[in-house]
């Protein structure tokens, strides 16, 4: 019976010739990831186990990115706990303030994730690496602990939804608009327990950064993972960033898909998810005047160089609207430097925005842009649940960097054509 890309990768890592949806398997892991919120719980659990150390010191990545630079004493204590663990076990991929970035932007940039890998991370957006043709999925801290100790994890082989992409997106339409469109179409549990498998000649018109954004938000449709086929764009990216060998998998022609959708990228419009679910989508053409108090451009979803380039193009020579706090967060130190060299950061500061060191901070209401009651924020992040960015009566509108930057200038939710 034919297998999907995801099923082929899982079969190989479980030492099996083939697998079928629903089968329980134990797979070898190429990388186990944790952050400053989830790793302390995982370390606590791992310490209860009768093991000497981690399964492989180069295959564990610990990234201090959520409440860093530390926002309070408790988060400082958490980071200290992880830092000491990393030192004791000689974890080579421990990233702290100064060299860290937002984990899902950082790990591909450091070359730690390549196509064909099986990766688990105690962070739900671990599904990002599917952009490179890897199987990667979010887990909790206990799974992370067991993964760090044994190098293995159990999985139920997922069934699949096929998303066939055709055409080329119009100017100012990006990967964010596509994934919001998909979530709006199938719902926040539309892909529950299953993989989202992207295919079609439209993929050639999506940059690597677009693909990271799309795979990143597969979880917001409930998916176990999202995965892209490997093409020249992927290979070029991996050759620049990684020394690791990669494996290319292709879905069988007779692979089984439980559902199939065809999306013409040329027909997509800039799309916004209204509070309080990522599935509450509207195109820019459908919305009324919504006045905003804050804009955030950044996160594991949209804090990459291409995102900042789009924002800089729109904000160049302009000023943010009075009363709109605009927070821009390059996702890694490398992106920060590159954005500085290209003059983007100067454009942002001159426009009246603030530029922050990499952090997940505002996305989850941690720090660096927490909202008060009644405030509205346009954000390039990934979730707009009740209270996600602060007060339970605040509102988050999810959108692309283009919409976020344009909205910062006008003070109302706007597309770049409107400024």
């Amino acid at each position: 019976m034919g297998m999907t890309m995801t099923q082929k990768i899982l079969a190989l890592h479980a030492g099996l010739d083939s697998v079928v949806a629903g089968q329980l398997i134990e797979a070898d892991l190429d990388l186990v990831l944790g952050n400053d919120i989830t790793s302390p719980v995982a370390i606590h659990e791992m310490n209860k186990m009768d093991v000497k150390g981690v399964f492989h010191k180069d295959k564990v990545a610990l990234v201090m990115d959520h409440f860093t630079p530390n926002k309070d004493i408790k988060s400082a204590e958490n980071c200290k706990y992880v830092r000491e663990f990393a030192a004791k076990h000689e974890i080579s991929n421990y990233y702290d303030v100064g060299e860290m970035g937002i984990e899902h932007a950082l790990l591909p940039e450091k070359g730690l994730t390549v196509s064909g890998d099986v990766i688990i991370g105690a962070d739900s957006h671990t599904c990002t690496y599917g952009a490179l043709g890897a199987f990667s999925t979010g887990v909790g801290s206990t799974d992370m602990a067991a993964g760090m100790a044994t190098g293995k994890a159990w999985f139920k082989v997922p069934g699949a939804i096929k998303i066939n992409l055709t055409g080329k997106p119009l100017k100012w339409v990006s990967g964010k608009d596509l994934i919001l469109h998909i979530i709006g179409m199938i719902g926040v549990d539309g892909a529950l327990y299953r993989s989202l498998e992207f295919t079609g000649d439209g993929i050639a018109n999506l940059s690597m950064d677009d693909r990271f954004t799309i795979a990143n938000m597969a979880i917001e449709a409930g998916a176990k993972n999202g995965i892209f086929p490997v093409d020249q764009t992927t290979i070029d990216y991996m050759k620049i960033h990684s020394k690791r060998p990669y494996k290319i998998f292709e879905a069988d022609a007779d692979a089984i898909y439980e559902e199939e959708y065809i999306i013409d990228l040329a027909k997509l419009r800039p799309t916004i998810a209204f509070p309080h679910l990522p599935e509450n989508t509207h195109t820019i053409d459908e919305i009324e005047k919504i006045k905003i108090d804050q804009v955030v451009i950044g996160s594991c979803t949209n804090g990459r160089l291409e995102d900042l380039k789009i924002a800089a193009e729109i904000m160049a020579g302009k000023k943010v609207a009075k009363g709109v706090r605009t927070v821009i967060i390059p996702a890694t130190q490398k992106i920060y430097l590159e954005a500085m060299e290209r003059g983007y950061l100067k454009i942002f500061v001159e426009a009246g925005a603030v530029v922050s060191t990499p952090t997940c901070g505002p996305c989850l209401g941690g720090h660096m842009g927490v909202l008060a009651a009644g405030e509205k924020c346009v954000s390039t992040t990934n979730r707009n649940f009740v209270g996600r960015m602060g007060h339970v009566e605040s509102e988050v509108y999810l959108a692309s960097p283009a919409i976020a930057a344009a909205s910062a200038i006008t003070g109302i939710i706007s597309g770049p054509e409107n400024i």
């Binding site: 408790k74 739900s124 887990v139 909790g140 926040v188 529950l192 989850l364 941690g366 979730r383």
Partner: protein, 163 residues
């Protein structure tokens, strides 16, 4: 193994941000987390919950982040079981891994109301509504998942298997 308790009822897509808001994630102490459990969706939950009580909801319970703090908070609040039509997959894994019993059952999610008294039999997945005198067949756990729950989590289970 059976549990009995009063029901707290919620709807679709109860996300991990309302189960335990991120502003409390600078701690991983279950007792501290429990003090804020469900705070952003039901601020009286923690005042009214008693050991053994249950949460019943509809689709996609626990969607959102991978924070294990969410099932930890629910368990430490004294909840003996969460019943929902479906669970988000990371929450599902996390709940089993920390030993919080969960059962998938659409009819129970549709028909059980807040305040109903419920008995759950984990061995066969039966849910009895003592208040309404009705019963529902939920999805029973496979043997190995029951053992993980009995051991109060995956790590204890792995340790017990070794010894």
């Amino acid at each position: 193994m059976k549990a009995t308790g009063k029901v707290f009822k919620y709807g679709n897509n109860v996300d991990t941000d309302v189960i335990i808001p991120a502003r409390y994630l600078n701690s991983s102490d279950p007792k501290e987390l429990a003090a804020h459990c469900m705070e952003d969706i039901d601020k009286d939950f923690i005042k009214n919950v008693h050991p053994g009580d249950m949460i019943v909801a509809n689709k996609n319970f626990g969607c959102g982040s991978s924070r294990e703090h969410a099932p930890l908070a629910i368990k430490a609040a004294g909840v003996s079981c969460v019943i929902a039509e479906t669970f988000a997959r990371i929450f599902y894994r996390n709940a089993i891994n920390i030993g919080l019993p969960i059962i998938e059952c659409k009819e129970a999610g549709d028909e059980i109301e807040a305040g109903d008294e419920i008995e759950v039999d984990f061995d066969n997945g039966m849910i009895y509504n003592k208040t309404k005198q009705t019963s529902y067949q939920g999805q029973a756990f496979p043997e190995f998942m029951q053992q993980i729950i009995k051991a109060e989590g995956l790590i204890n289970y792995i340790n017990q298997k070794k010894s």
